[in-house]
């Protein structure tokens, strides 16, 4: 693989100079939050403390996860390699009002 693929910042390239980090924290911050919430079923406060990030950021990410359930239920089948695979492995209602 060309080295540039590894080093360039992730972008959907749908707006001039768009970067993924315009709307999301960098993956080094995002992924531990997602792991805490999805794989380990931890609360926002626990995740914020463990990762040393603001609880407000954790809640914002969790809100995005909860509100995107409809997309996961309409997605093509994905291959499972983690403990909580979307699809068969994690089954949430779409029309639900529980918020952390």
């Amino acid at each position: 693989m060309p080295e540039n693929i590894f080093v360039k910042p992730p972008s959907a390239e749908l707006r001039p100079d768009q970067k993924d980090t315009d709307s999301l924290p960098p993956y080094e911050v995002l992924d531990p939050i997602l792991r805490g919430y999805i794989e380990e079923v931890r609360s926002p406060a626990e995740i914020a403390e463990a990762q040393g990030v603001p609880e407000e950021l954790v809640r914002d990410i969790i809100r995005k996860v909860d509100l995107s359930e409809y997309k996961r239920q309409q997605a093509a089948p994905g291959l499972k390699v983690t403990t909580k695979a979307f699809g068969m492995g994690r089954r949430f209602p779409i029309a639900q009002r529980f918020r952390e």
Partner: protein
């Protein structure tokens, strides 16, 4: 003993609102002199909560809301029975149970966990719940009451049928001297199910020689539509009280005198399935936080039926039909769609896919080479219609209703991401897509005369 059947529409996860609805209904039942108000299975959480029950915060806040229900009905002379998710005290097995609570005087006087956990068809309860290890009868108003949760009472029938479970909770409660059976339920609708349930449960009352009170959830939760249709039967197995189908209701029965309110509705199954679809559509849209929907109107019968359902469910002012003519559309596609929209009182707009189709083909033709025209080009047109609807959905914050029927879906006569999986979304508003009500074509033809008047 006067009992109120509290047939409520619970929103999954809206614990506070669900409990507030029960408090209001119990206050009303108290004014009517009811000794007991009975609410559906998992009424505090809504059914099915699915993997939400794996969250500690969900189970903890469910308990808090149950205690609020007990506290705010403490001064009433009406006791409450309702379903909730309860933390298991057992150190082995699943961490929660599907439970029924008896609340009176501010206390939880009694709890019965569900014995039989269905795991077939749409049910997945072994995934989430530990089964009850024991059953007891409970005395309410001087009568010995057997309390069952949905599936618990579905395994009591006369010989000839294959029992799904070796245990029969109804028989166990009768051995303990139960005089009344109270069954709380979240039993989803399907065509013919209302009569099947009544036959089954009236048979239980008759064979066991005791009155039975059967209370069901009403409302749409994702794919499932709960019809309500709660009722009570006397010891001869005759219906003595009944609630409406597809709407919230509060009906009263006196099991001592064998008298009660009769709110039977929907004797025709065609009317029933139509109102089921209206309820399921309305609740999905509203419980996801939307008010407006978009529907691609082709001038055909499928989209016409979906538009009629949507207009009834949401009000015509919240429905927009989009005509999307392509290079092969006939003139009557647009004229029929426009006339339909006028008849329903919904807005109608046109967005042609013709020039986009030409542009896409110009880009792809060099790659297609000399392979003859086939279904590929047909799919491009339906995908462009899907793209158009999704773009309008995101821009306007309106949800897209899809219009494929079950026969098409069965044989693959649909285009992935267009008819099967339309997505309407606005990321920040937390949009949602919806798979439209899927019906066999024969059911559509049966339903349409009902809506043309």
């Amino acid at each position: 003993m006067k009992i109120a059947l509290g047939q409520m529409n619970a929103t999954v996860g809206d614990l506070e609102r669900n409990v507030t609805r029960m408090i209001e209904a119990t206050q009303e039942a108290n004014q009517q002199g009811a000794a007991l108000a009975v609410f559906p299975e998992l009424a505090v959480t809504g059914y099915p909560p699915r993997d939400l029950v794996e969250k500690h915060s969900f189970v903890r806040r469910t308990r808090e809301q149950l205690l609020r229900l007990a506290a705010e009905t403490a001064s009433l002379s009406t006791a409450v029975i309702c379903g909730f998710v309860c933390e298991s005290t057992d150190t082995k097995g699943k961490s929660v149970t599907n439970s029924a609570a008896l609340l009176s005087g501010g206390q939880m006087l009694f709890r019965q966990d569900k014995v039989l956990l269905p795991t077939y068809d749409v049910f997945d309860e072994w995934r989430h719940f530990a089964p009850a290890d024991q059953q007891r009868v409970v005395e309410i108003g001087g009568r010995r009451v057997g309390l069952t949760i949905c599936e618990d009472a579905w395994n009591d029938f006369e010989g000839g049928q294959r029992a799904l479970y070796s245990r029969n909770p109804v028989a166990d409660l009768c051995r303990q001297g139960a005089e009344i059976l109270i069954s709380i339920n979240a039993s989803p609708y399907e065509m013919g199910k209302r009569q099947e349930r009544r036959n089954l449960f009236c048979g239980v009352a008759r064979r066991r020689g005791m009155p039975l009170v059967w209370v069901n959830q009403v409302g749409g939760n994702d794919q499932l539509i709960f019809d309500g249709s709660s009722f009570a039967a006397d010891a001869q197995g005759d219906v003595i009280a009944s609630a409406r189908s597809f709407d919230e209701d509060l009906v009263y029965v006196d099991v001592a005198t064998g008298t009660g309110d009769r709110h039977d509705s929907h004797s025709s199954e065609t009317e029933a399935v139509y109102d089921a679809l209206v309820l399921g559509t309305r609740d999905y849209v509203h419980k996801c936080g939307f008010r407006q929907v978009l529907i691609g109107l082709s001038g055909g019968i499928d989209s016409a039926l979906v538009a009629a359902i949507a207009a009834d469910a949401l009000g015509p002012q919240n429905v927009t039909g989009i005509g999307m003519p392509g290079p092969y559309s006939s003139d009557h596609s647009l004229t029929d769609a426009r006339a339909l929209a006028a008849g329903l009182g919904i807005r109608f707009e046109v967005a042609s896919i013709g020039s986009a189709y030409e542009t896409v083909l110009r880009g792809l033709d060099p790659l297609f080479g000399d392979v003859p025209r086939d279904v590929t080009e047909e799919n491009i047109q339906s995908r462009l219609r899907g793209l158009t609807l999704m773009a309008l959905s995101t821009k306007r914050g309106a949800l897209v209703l899809t219009t494929g029927n079950k026969s098409e879906l069965a044989v693959g006569y649909c285009t992935a991401r267009r008819r099967v999986v339309d997505i309407g979304q606005d990321h920040d508003a937390g949009g949602d897509g919806m798979n439209s009500p899927a019906l066999p074509t024969c059911a559509i033809l049966e339903l349409c005369p009902r809506t043309s008047s």
